[in-house]
Amino acid sequence: MNFNLTLITQALVFAAFIWFTVRFVWPPLLRAIEARQKRIADGLAAAEQGKKSLESSSRQAELAITEARSRAAEIVAQAEKRGSQVLEEAKAAAKAEGDREKAAAKADIQQEAQRAREQLREQVAALAVAGAEKILRREVDARAHAELLDGIKKQL
């Protein structure tokens, strides 16, 4: 073992290399690694956040759907109610119309009967005049006796 100047030189070289590594090699790589770690952590946090917001929004969507469904059911019920109401109204209107038509028809019939009765009376009067003519065996001057004949007609 012969120690010599090599020892001191190598120690200085060693010190220089350590200094260089401490100063120029370690920090940039450490920065890069730490920046990447931070990015990964941020990414994971963002993913977690996204998962959470997805959960809450899907819960909200569910709520909205439930509400919409109940609202729809309500609307359907209302529509059904309204429909039956309209039906009832239509029924009532139809019934009223029917009644009105029936009444009109009745009035027509009565009128017709009245007219027929009138006709019948006139014919009976004519018949009666004819009969009277026959009885009197002579011509009745229609013009001379019109007043008389009208009176008979009216009596019939």
């Binding site: 030189t9 120029f24 370690w26 940039p28």
Partner: protein, 268 residues
């Protein structure tokens, strides 16, 4: 092998275990520099740390490309070790990047053991014909340089964490209490001595032994064609096993570095 000369086995091994030592001041002695260790280690440090720097400069916080993913894997591996052991403050300020430096650098220096010495020597003879060792961690100066640097840093962290008074108090009063202070001092002195020794000698011993075993296998190959075949098989086996040792020793050296820094911050 030195060009044009027949070497006997002892000379062959001796040659490969000779540093390219050049006197820096006067006629050497302590002021000798192992040019090979220093050159190779600086080159490998530039390649390893430079590669990391090149990737890290363009590091994106988004999806990393394959190169960045590889570097992040490496850094993550080192950082996990630092995170598990060092719990005394911001490891990013010093301990983790220092551990990364140690791991990458020592791993690359150890890996030089895989290069076949006699082929590499064809190139390194241009630098030095006398000898050129390409495994800086098989040079005790390198391993001690690293271990002593860690040791001084450990002392400094210790004093910084507890104050000089607190550090002295621990030196005298732990682990047996104030009444047995000479025993405590002895214990702590042994501990402080053993740390850099075990730290550096473990790495040095493993790499040096690996180098020698390879050299012995190459010597076997020189004994004849049949021996060369056997040497090939044995060297293949040893190289595969050595991959484990190279990586394991780099890992152990890094772990001990982190452990020593962590221990420096612990209060007793």
């Amino acid at each position: 092998m030195a060009a044009g000369k027949e070497l006997n086995p002892t000379e062959y091994i001796g040659h490969h275990l000779t540093h390219d030592a050049r006197p820096f001041l006067g006629d050497g002695g302590f002021w000798t520099l192992h040019v090979d260790s220093v050159m190779v280690s600086i080159l490998l440090g530039l390649v390893g740390i430079g590669f990391l720097w090149w990737i890290v400069r363009g590091a994106s916080a988004g999806v990393p490309n394959k190169r960045q993913a590889f570097v992040e894997l490496l850094v993550g591996f080192v950082d996990d070790q630092a995170k598990g052991i060092f719990r005394h403050g911001d490891r990013n300020a010093f301990v983790a990047p220092a551990a990364l430096t140690v791991f990458v650098w020592v791993l690359l220096m150890n890996s030089m053991d895989f290069l076949p010495v006699d082929i590499v020597a064809k190139g390194t003879h241009l630098i030095s014909a006398e000898g050129f060792r390409i495994v800086p961690t098989a040079d005790i100066n390198t391993t001690f340089a690293l271990a002593l640097s860690v040791w001084f840093l450990m002392l400094w962290f210790s004093v910084k964490a507890k104050g000089f008074g607190g550090w002295m108090h621990e030196l005298l009063c732990a682990p047996f209490g104030a009444k047995l202070f000479p025993l405590n001092l002895l214990f702590n002195a042994i501990e402080y001595l053993s740390k850099p020794l075990s730290h550096s000698l473990r790495l040095y011993g493993n790499m040096y032994a690996g180098e020698i075993i390879f050299l012995l296998l190459w010597l076997l190959a020189a004994a004849g064609l049949g021996w060369a075949g056997l040497s090939f098989l044995l060297a293949l086996g040893w190289a595969i096993f050595h991959i484990l040792i190279v990586a394991l020793q780099a890992y152990v050296f890094m772990m001990l570095t982190i452990v020593y820094f962590a221990m420096a911050h612990e209060h007793h």
